[in-house]
Assembly symmetry: C2
Homo-oligomer: 135 residues x 2
DNA sequence: ATTGCTTTTGCAATTTGTTCGCAGGTATTA
DNA sequence: TAATACCTGCGAACAAATTGCAAAAGCAAT
């Protein structure tokens, strides 16, 4: 029995658009739907934005991508396996820094112990002012 | 010299619409612009939604209200003096729990010490699964 | 390869949330 | 009460995201 394509393994049809959307998310790190579309268009100019939205949703449903909120606007997408860090978003300059998820481990444990709340610290960014802008 | 109205103290004109928007934010706890408009309309039916948006922005500029992001959609507004808690948003049932800001004190200190990052933990919600939905 | 079923796509229209320009109205100060 | 900023209502404009639909394409069975 031959090894299946990862999309087929998830029960999805294998279309060029879908593969390209997944590949774009993986290459871009974090990207808005518009940025994903932009990237995909470099090899597949005809792709429609609604196809990108639908595929991002589908890929998220099967666990291959995830979204996070980095700012006041829309979501950004990550490859699921890469979402291993916190996002530190600076409200002054807009820079996006990273910190290991462990940084929040105690905080997450406290919320679990005191409130029974299971926190996903990557879904929303950590918002504040970066070192450069604090001076 | 008589005590000034708080809006006048901030250099703003005292209009019925503005007072009502501020009062609505204070009474509602957290509210979307649409919800604020709804509330204001109970005593001032004619208020326009764009007036609500403009006043929320103005009131935020002078520090009387603040906005936070509780979900995937638009912002919600708080009275500035009431934003003294974290929001624990459940991704399953949508409930919004509170926790004291102190809960995050160590986390905030770590980010400051290790990254020079000054965190505002109230701007984005804490996202996860509540106790009820974990079972 | 062909068929038939089902999913996916492109496209246009729609919805939703927010902002803008402008003309008339109102709060404030003198 | 008159001058002048500021503010409001209104409609239009805008942007992001969603939807309905018919045509196209993927897939499994023949
Ligand atoms: Mn914000
Ligand atoms: Mn989200
Ligand atoms: Zn910065
Ligand atoms: Zn819940």
């Amino acid at each position: 029995m031959a090894k299946q394509h990862e999309l087929r393994e998830k029960g999805l049809r294998l279309t060029p658009q879908r593969e390209l959307v997944l590949q774009a998310v993986r290459e871009l790190g974090h990207a808005t739907p518009e940025e994903v579309a932009e990237k995909v268009r470099s090899t597949h100019p005809g792709i429609n934005l609604s196809t990108v939205y639908r595929n991002l949703e589908t890929l998220e449903n099967v666990g291959l991508v995830l979204h996070t909120h980095l700012g006041h606007g829309g979501a950004t997408y990550h490859a699921a396996e890469e979402l291993t860090h916190l996002h530190l978003v600076c409200s002054v300059c807009g820079s996006i820094g990273d910190a290991p998820i462990d940084t929040a481990a105690n905080f997450v444990n406290t919320l679990a112990d005191d409130y029974g709340f299971k926190t996903d610290v990557t879904h929303f960014a950590i918002y504040g002012t970066c070192q450069k802008c604090s001076k």
